[in-house]
């Protein structure tokens, strides 16, 4: 897979309603042409964020304030579209209406890329508005990969699929989650949005090694990282996106940067949303980790440095 379809955008945050005014008032935005140069030529940790990710469904509307804000943000920052309702793993037919709304929004936004989750969100015509896990077996790989290929045909571009946090697994699974994720991405020829927090949460909930997960994902498929906070519910961890990123997840992120190199990184925060500065601070912490690791291979070109990193962790 050619990773140039998923350019390195730097360090971004999810665009959420409480921050609309702040983002629009901020002067750190820049034209797209200058943006790439800005990322390439960055010498230290900057104050702002480099890009935004939107929840696609929040903007699949006819008009009003959400689209007005989106257009204004789009003029100043690169945007990626991240969906929550594609329901790529469901046995219901793919919704033509949904796909056409997605294509219409993509036409308006011209996103850097489009992503959704490796899960199912409903069945029998009902929508659960949740990201439910799939069984990890060959039948599911074939089923999901065929549907991803169909989506990619309709929207005429490669998409990235994200690993979800989960609280249950199926008895009919015959492989690990990371084997399943890699197999689906290979079979569908799509990219992977690797959510580091989701790896950590699921590793705790199901008792597997988060490090083994990270080390088993094919680097050439990874297009984006997600970082988020979770909450400890005693018997399990909940992917609540309502807290700061914990130290263990940062540690895992460091491992991921070492393995995967220059991958656009995004901070998600969806509940008890703090001031924008808290999200920007998290994005800048990710930036510092990335730069620290990049300095290990200073003097080489970006691609050579990435190749070196991969050799080091192989």
């Amino acid at each position: 897979m050619d990773r140039s379809e998923f350019p390195f955008l730097g360090f971004g945050v999810g665009l959420r309603r409480p921050h609309y005014a702040h983002v629009l008032a901020s002067r750190s935005g820049r034209s797209h042409r200058r943006h790439r140069e800005h990322i390439r030529g960055r010498s230290g940790s900057g104050g702002g964020v480099d890009w935004f990710e939107i929840i696609s469904e929040n903007f699949m509307v006819e008009g009003g304030r959400p689209l007005e804000v989106l257009d204004a943000v789009r003029d100043r920052y690169p945007i990626a579209m991240h969906g929550v309702s594609l329901s790529i793993g469901s046995t219901d037919r793919l919704s033509r209406d949904y796909l056409s709304a997605l294509a219409k929004l993509a036409h308006r936004v011209r996103p850097a890329w489009i992503s959704d989750h490796l899960c199912w969100t409903g069945v029998g015509g009902r929508n659960l508005h949740d990201l439910l896990p799939l069984p990890f077996n060959d039948e599911a790989v074939a089923h999901v990969a065929a549907r991803i290929r169909r989506v990619q045909d309709v929207i005429e571009r490669r998409i990235a699929i994200e690993n979800v946090s989960s609280y249950m697994t199926y008895r009919c699974s015959t492989m690990t989650e990371w084997q399943f994720l890699a197999a689906v991405a290979a079979e569908a020829d799509c990219a992977i949005l690797l959510d580091i927090n989701n790896v950590f949460v699921s590793a705790f909930n199901h008792g597997f090694s988060a490090e083994e997960y990270i080390d088993s994902i094919p680097p050439e498929r990874v297009a984006q990282f997600h970082l988020a906070g979770h909450s400890d519910r005693g018997a399990y961890l909940l992917d609540s996106h309502d807290a700061p990123i914990c130290e263990e997840v940062w540690k895992l992120y460091r491992r991921a940067v070492l393995r995967f190199g220059s991958v656009s990184t995004l901070i998600e925060w969806d509940d008890k949303i703090p001031k924008f500065e808290a999200l920007a601070a998290a994005a800048n912490r990710a930036r510092r980790i990335y730069e620290e690791i990049r300095n290990l291979t200073q003097g080489r070109s970006g691609n050579a440095a990435d190749a070196e990193r991969r050799r080091r962790v192989a």
Binding site: E57, N58, M60, V61, E62, G63, G64, R65, P66, L67, E68, S85, S87, S95, Y98, T121, G125, R126, N127, L128, H129, D130, L132, Y167, M168, T169, Y170, R171, C172, G207, A235, Y236, L238
Partner: protein, 257 residues
């Protein structure tokens, strides 16, 4: 006893599909998703119906739970999850005690819908003045897309204003009225109106000619005051932004041939 047996059977069925372990049984793992389903949609409903939630207090959560059983979400966006809540409330027993609740929910739903309705620029007075007097009677105007007009039996607009201003909501008075909800830019407005203005706005919405809209506004009145009233209403509509901007050649496009 039979409920207990049912639960045991359900847990067995779940255990045959979902893995459990020492830490959590398969049913407990599924229960995490069940709990999140209700919690997430409860949050969505609270955001869409803040005044209804405030009036209902603690019963809101239970009524939302009943609503989700009656009207499970079927569309990919949570925007539609609460779409049928006003209709659900209308036949819910709670409306015997709080008969105004369905009207209040209908007002809040209209505000949610208007917030993301298509953008249509409103007509300004200068554009209207540019139309020759001879063309006025057969001029066809339209209301903006971000507008809803509906009848209510209770004066719930005042109740909503109470909640929005942080005042303790008072039980609304009974009274048949029409509610007009519309958006200008990113802000949603609402106000009460009477049957004559509502009928005129409905005609306007259907693209009727200006003379018919005026007739409806004047109603039974045929005195000099009716002209004054029509002009005042038209000015108000222009000020409020409820009439859509005409096309590039207003006279040619908006007046029927």
């Amino acid at each position: 006893m039979s409920a207990g047996r049912g639960e045991v059977a359900a847990n067995r069925a779940l255990a045959a599909v979902i893995r459990g372990d020492d830490r959590m049984a398969s049913a407990d793992r599924v229960a995490i998703y069940a709990g999140m389903y209700v919690a997430r949609l409860h949050e969505v409903m609270k955001e869409d119906y803040p005044a209804t939630a405030a009036v209902l207090g603690q019963s809101f959560a239970e009524i939302v739970r009943e609503y989700l059983v009656a009207y499970p979400p079927k569309k990919p966006s949570v925007f539609f999850a609460g779409q049928s809540f006003p209709a659900f409330l209308r036949s819910h027993p709670i409306c015997r005690r709080m008969p105004y609740l369905a009207d209040l929910a209908a007002l809040e739903r209209a505000m949610v819908e208007v917030f993301v309705a298509p953008d249509v620029a409103p007509l300004d007075e200068a554009a209207l003045r540019a139309i020759s007097a001879a063309d006025w009677p057969r001029l066809r105007m339209r209301t903006v897309s971000a507008l809803r007009l509906f009848e209510v039996q209770w004066r719930v607009a005042a109740l909503l204003r109470d909640v929005q201003s942080g005042r303790r909501p008072k039980k609304p008075r009974r009274g048949k009225k029409f509610l007009l909800v519309w958006r200008i830019g990113g802000r949603v407005y609402f106000r009460e109106t009477d049957a004559a203005e509502a009928a005129a706005l409905k005609l306007l919405g259907r693209g009727a000619t200006f003379d018919r809209v005026c007739e409806k506004l004047a109603g039974a009145r045929r005195d000099a005051g009716s002209v004054k009233f029509i002009m005042a209403t038209l000015r108000r509509w222009l000020r409020e932004g409820v009439i859509a901007r005409l096309g590039p050649s207003p006279a040619r496009q908006s007046v029927s041939a």
